[in-house]
Symmetry: C2
Subunit: 399 residues, 2 copies
């Protein structure tokens, strides 16, 4: 017997600190859970894991929605799952686009035959309840889709009071919570949201690969009233939900080990406590902001709608976007994100999501950025960023 030699080295990733728009740093216990032995997708043990996942996801979404589960794909598959299950060909959908992910939602909807009405804002801006009320009153859509935390711009969309105007117009409210879930409140029931999707690789700090979704009874009724089959077999909730919830009928083979990882990631969220977790994200955002401002770096979105977990900042004049990001990666192992769409080359996106949101990372990043900017000849007072962040922590955090 001859043994062929393998050509590639085993997996051995470099050490990184993930401060981009996701994935975020993963806790060791989550990685360890992912490496637990695979069992069958109908194994009684795995069915119990699924039940526990649903329960923990409901807590996370602040909801009692029965139809709450993890779609077997990344966040964009969660977006597609929500849209294709709620929309039939010819249905009207209003999509609020103020960044890449609103635009993506409009694209997804148009592909399955929705009549899409897109209302747009400049990247980085947000929508008012009044302008949305006006549009839904006029358009009478079946669904209004909006992004809670625009990962491409760093803007936080307020959702309070939105459901009332959407429901008054007879529409369902669909919300993208990919980046917000686990890092700031996402109150599905209190805010009367009908459908929402997220991803695992942002503030949940689980590797990418699953998309938590939740549907209100109103959304379920709309799905039950469909006249046509869902365009996607893989994402058809009428079948997926019998596997997760009821008869346990085989649909597709669930990604077992990804679900193990999410289970442990959610345990960590609940162990920390949701309110504590939101406060931590907010505090580290404030510290980072204090530091950046002391370095003369400005945020790309207005003060009143900045996301705590994704900080989009303007690249200082004369500074080479790609060069600085390469140096951060190669000199310090720090990944941050560049701008997307109209913000490409103009902004950096600095993520402080989940496990990444720590004081030590804030200080390290500010210090490393100091080095890169000094190297590039940018005029700044060395150490001012770190000093300002430390000052924030010292004056606001009490044990």
């Amino acid at each position: 017997m001859t043994i062929e030699h393998h050509f590639h080295s085993p997996i051995q990733p470099p050490r990184r600190t993930l401060m981009g728009p996701g994935p975020s740093d993963i806790a060791a216990s989550v990685l360890t859970a992912m490496a637990a032995p695979t069992v069958g997708h109908l194994d009684p043990y795995f069915l119990k894991v699924m039940d526990e996942l649903q329960e923990m996801l409901r807590t996370l979404f602040h909801t009692t929605n029965e139809l709450t589960l993890a779609v077997s794909g990344t966040g964009s598959a969660g977006m597609e799952a929500c849209v294709v299950n709620l929309i039939e060909p010819g249905d009207k959908m209003v999509v609020c686009t103020n960044g890449v992910f609103g635009g993506r939602m409009a694209d997804v909807a148009s592909r399955v035959g929705a009549e899409v009405v897109e209302i747009t804002r400049e990247f980085g801006e947000v929508f008012s309840v009044e302008e949305i009320a006006e549009v839904v009153k006029k358009e009478k859509p079946k669904v209004l889709g909006i992004v809670h935390a625009e990962t491409s711009t760093g803007a936080a969309q307020s959702l309070k009071e939105l459901a009332d105007v959407v429901h008054d117009a007879g529409a369902l409210l669909l919300v993208d919570c990919v980046t917000s879930l686990g890092g700031m409140p996402v109150k599905i029931d209190e805010w009367n949201i009908d459908a929402a999707y997220s991803g695992t690789q942002k503030c949940l700090s689980c590797p990418p690969g699953l998309a938590p979704v939740t549907f209100s009874s109103r959304a379920v009724a709309a799905m039950d009233a469909r006249k046509t089959k869902v365009s996607s077999w893989y994402l058809d909730m009428s079948m997926v939900r019998s596997y997760w919830g009821g008869s346990r009928a085989y649909h597709h083979t669930a990604p077992i080990n990804m679900n193990y990882g999410l289970h442990q990631a959610l345990r960590l969220v609940l162990e920390e406590g949701m309110e504590n977790r939101y406060s931590r994200h907010y505090a580290n955002h404030c510290a980072l902001k204090a530091g950046l401002q002391a370095m003369g770096i400005q945020f790309a979105v207005a003060e009143d709608h900045q996301l705590p977990m994704l900080n989009a900042v303007k690249i200082p004049e004369g500074i080479d976007d790609a060069a600085i990001r390469s140096q951060l990666l190669n000199w310090f192992g720090i990944e941050i994100g560049g701008g997307l769409g109209s913000m490409k080359g103009k902004t950096w996106r600095i993520g402080l999501m989940g496990e990444t949101s720590r004081g030590s990372n804030v200080l390290m990043f500010l210090a490393a950025l100091d080095q890169c900017l000094l190297h590039a000849g940018y005029q700044l007072s060395p150490g001012a960023g770190v000093a300002a962040a430390n000052d924030f922590y010292r004056t606001t955090i009490t044990d």
Copy 2:
């Protein structure tokens, strides 16, 4: 600060031997690779991993197809990816259905507006080149879809000479290789297959979560000539392929750690050698068959088209399907599969896929089944199955 307590125990799966229709047992090194630290989806290291994955997948598929990659979903997402990229509304597709997965392919195609012509065979039977030639000559479809290894029935479909008749009719040949890939030859180029999809959790022995796919230049030309957008944004190959192949344009966040696992699983396949791996699967199938036949248990499909990695056998008269499967699971930690569709309650599906395909598992399974059947009052000569399997190994395997 109050700390909420977590409610659920950490992930700690029971010990199983996975002898069902998949997932199969996973090598420790694959699980370890999955637990390596997550890096970003545009990290130079991950881009290298993707390049290596593509290269190894081409070897596995016996192809030089440039468009060969792992779709970010399980095998059924691979099926959907192939169908929705090749089919536009109104296109005709012939689907050969002789089991659950042919039926699923027809469903997927009809959801995206294909005019589906289904040719059917009883579960467990296979199709002849002649009957397919006749249908494609008459129907002139854009695509003919067929399943290589029907996981629901244990039947192996010969693919040799099929491409000629399909191409003569101007159609593309799409093949489901979910269960065959890595356990028996799948010769994409030699057999002139235009598109094929697989899953990771069968003979590749990687946890479920990714779907290897490959497309010939003929299939790529058909995709490039589309007049309509692909119905699924998530699975749209025109975008997915620029992330894997060309400009590295961000599409969706790849499931990083799943790709780590697949990388290591493919390294193990290549280290063993593909021909050795096919022989191993075939030998253990023969040993299992010798054992089962000595116990009076018959295969559900004819001798000339039995799959080496999935053994569908008839449940002996008077034996309770569910009771025996529960005992195998609870007494011995062995998972086997029940029948699907018209074979429900009538067959067991015993998988010997990838890591699971070992002499020790064959012997253990036969011995455990002996115990369960004796317990149920089935008349058999105790130990006859094990003796026959050992006899097979002793007389046919040389070091």
